[in-house]
Symmetry: C2
């Protein structure tokens, strides 16, 4: 990642593919000069935030009819002079235009670099920058409410309030220490303790939403686990067909197992079929397959144990034991399959009885997943991420330390050290304090063109 | 396809996928009213061709921070009032925004509908509308020059000139017929014949570029044909690796054969591996596979016959015979593989000797393909499509008919009928004459959002 903004960067900001329009962003001090080399019309007299039509040229050769969007810094996404080029989509035109911009002095933007510049130029704070990436990668429609609130800065506002309250208390403690030589107590001990408790409580309430945020962010991972021929693949296909809400295969994932997407009550479920993993004959692959299955079990939030009822109701007990042992926190649902060819007494069990082949009983599985979906509070205010949750835990830890010291009657300069470190953690969340490493971590996951 | 422009249509105009930005277009009489329902800021006082920032809402709930591009008709792509919404990319936000626009009265645009409206409102003629779709679907970088010329209207200009010349002659003929009762010959026979010859020549010169245009448009289809174990798959992988310019797997194609893309000298080559087709053991599939291979042979422009040299130089003769019989026009290249494990006398043959396994000799195949690529004239002015070529042939036919009648000394009213029909074909190319069927045909291949 580059941390200077002297260069002019460009990249496609829409996905590659066949489409009416592709958008290319060119941002930096030379943006207007570079685009000027490729248009035979002048845009220098155009005002900021205006749209004009032109033809993008390679010297005398026309490349494409384009729409030119002009933003004069600091009133742009990055805060710098910016041109957005709306050209025709497909694989040839956008690539050629980017090549030509680069030949005229622009450099290809790294993933996240536009947003990094926006952050460095004070256009958004770090939680908003993270929300930009979040909102793009959302998988559950139900997560949109929280993500958009975060994007427009609701979380920043609450965090800033927390920081201000902490800072106010910190300053009092410093003052108090200055006056303490003169035996004046500015902050009474009771007041101090109650203020610290209040700060801790606020931060804890943020952290509490983290588990929900995780579900909203990534949805549920529902793993189908079963012995060969238990009917996992049939169930997999039947369920995806039944819900009729396949989003898409998750791109970029390994094909050693099959994944499908379902949206149930606004929450994204990734259904994972491990079929094929156990069914290899070679020992080496078998062992590898088992190790792999175990890693899938550990990742799952819901494990559907698919039992072939024709082999008996307890046939898959060892798989249930395995799931309990490997991932006790995951929810387990026992599904007896092949009930069409086997008479069963369903009254005596809380398991689900289905026939994947005849698509009987699938609604019971969906109901069960829906129950999980509905337990997700979609109105949580913050879509906390791991970094933020971790820093908030550090904040709470520092405040609790201060609280303990206050109860022990320690002098306020000692407490101030803890509050200073609490303040720093909030600063790191908001990005008012940052290191290059921190920014590298935050922006490393961005997609190109953001 | 809808042929009225009373509705307000919307759709994503960038590809679906993870990206910084997604663009949604909303166009039609209610565009400003509909967007107004979702912004808490007013855009009514904004001028045409201006950009503003806002938050897109579902009633009180914020959905996303958006950029609003405003175009007041007729100064827009479609010619109607248009709003483009730049929102965050990914799968959730753009979908939600489109759903909300639809709930507020917009309807989802059909593929090509924006460009259809542009055509119906006189913003571009039919050859330009076709060029819009062409430029998006281009696969060969070398085709860009011709496609962009067509887009900015060079072909339209030449066609209009042809139409004007035809019309002038037609009017003379009508006048001539009016005066013929009085024995005045307005157009001397020699002059008439030479004018008709000139029209025919111009149209023929357009048609001549069609074969080149086909190659520029779709590139070459290079088929690997060979017996099992001749090393087709190794060669396929080696060539794609060697050229290092894989564009992407062609989306939406069947996976019964494997396709890869290479760009050689600016021309797109689709390399097709039929491996696996003949290698089935079941008879039924074998037969199906052969039928399928034959259809691939007929589609190919270049057939690479891959011969296992360890089985002898003439081992694949029957495949060569098959290729000649099934598709005599395709270019054939005989490639002897496995030359690393077999001594060969390469002097006595015009075949290519390689080792796919050791990636020896691949440059000879690339040279041979490059030779084909270079025979494509990338400077042809027009990227004629099948529809246009077909209509131009009808034009030439009518002109030739008129020429024959003129030579026979037929009266000018009879000639005028042929010229009238010639004029109509040019009108159909430009779209000054059209039927709903014609428009359906032209716009049926458009991608959504164009």
């Amino acid at each position: 990642m580059h941390f200077n903004s002297d260069t002019t960067i460009c990249s496609l900001i829409t996905p590659p593919g066949l489409s009416g329009i592709a958008m290319i962003r060119l941002s930096g001090p030379q943006a207007f000069e570079i685009i000027g080399k490729h248009l035979h019309t002048s845009i220098s007299e155009k005002e900021s935030h205006t749209i004009s039509y032109s033809v993008f040229h390679d010297h005398e050769q026309p490349i494409d009819t384009v729409t030119i969007f002009k933003y004069v810094g600091p009133h742009s996404y990055t805060g710098q002079d910016t041109i957005e080029i709306g050209c025709h989509g497909g694989y040839i035109v956008p690539k050629r235009i980017i090549e030509l911009l680069i030949s005229s002095g622009a450099i290809l933007a790294e993933p996240g670099e536009f947003t990094l510049r926006a952050f460095l130029n004070g256009k958004l704070d770090l939680t908003q920058a993270e929300a930009v990436n979040d909102i793009i990668h959302l998988q559950s429609p139900a997560a949109l409410e929280s993500a958009s609130k975060q994007l427009i800065g609701s979380f920043s506002k609450e965090l800033s309030a927390l920081r201000d309250a902490t800072e106010r208390l910190f300053k009092y403690l410093i003052l108090d220490f200055d006056f303490s030589q003169e035996d004046i107590e500015l902050v009474p001990k009771d007041r101090l303790i109650s203020e610290l408790q209040s700060l801790s409580l606020t931060a804890r309430s943020f952290i509490e939403s983290y588990e929900t945020a995780k579900t909203l962010r990534s949805g549920h991972q529902a793993l189908l686990l079963g012995y060969p021929n238990a009917g996992k693949s049939s169930l997999f296909n039947a369920m995806l067909g039944y819900t009729r809400s396949i989003v898409s295969d998750v791109p970029g994932t390994t094909r050693d197992f099959v994944e499908g997407s379902m949206i149930i009550d606004g929450i994204h479920f990734t259904l994972i079929d491990t079929a094929g993993i156990h069914e290899h004959t070679s020992d080496a692959i078998e062992i590898e397959g088992i190790a792999y299955s175990l890693s899938l079990i550990k990742r799952a939030t819901i494990i559907l144990i698919v039992n072939d009822i024709t082999c008996g109701v307890n046939h898959s007990q060892s798989l249930i034991d395995l799931a309990i042992r490997e991932h006790p926190k995951a929810q387990r649902i026992l599904v007896h399959n092949k009930c069409d060819i086997h008479d069963v007494d369903i009254a005596a069990s809380d398991a689900i009885f289905i026939s994947a082949k005849k698509t009987h009983g699938l609604h019971s599985i969906i109901d069960s997943l829906s129950h999980n979906a509905k337990q997700t509070d979609t109105h949580i205010t913050f879509l906390l991420n791991e970094r933020q949750a971790h820093l908030l835990q550090e904040y709470v830890h520092a405040i609790e330390q201060a609280l303990q010291l206050a109860r022990q009657g320690m002098s306020t300069d000692v407490l101030a050290i803890e509050l200073r470190s609490a303040l720093d953690t909030v600063g790191l969340i908001l990005g008012t304090i940052y290191t290059e490493d921190l920014l590298n971590d935050v922006f490393a996951n961005f997609c190109i063109g953001k």
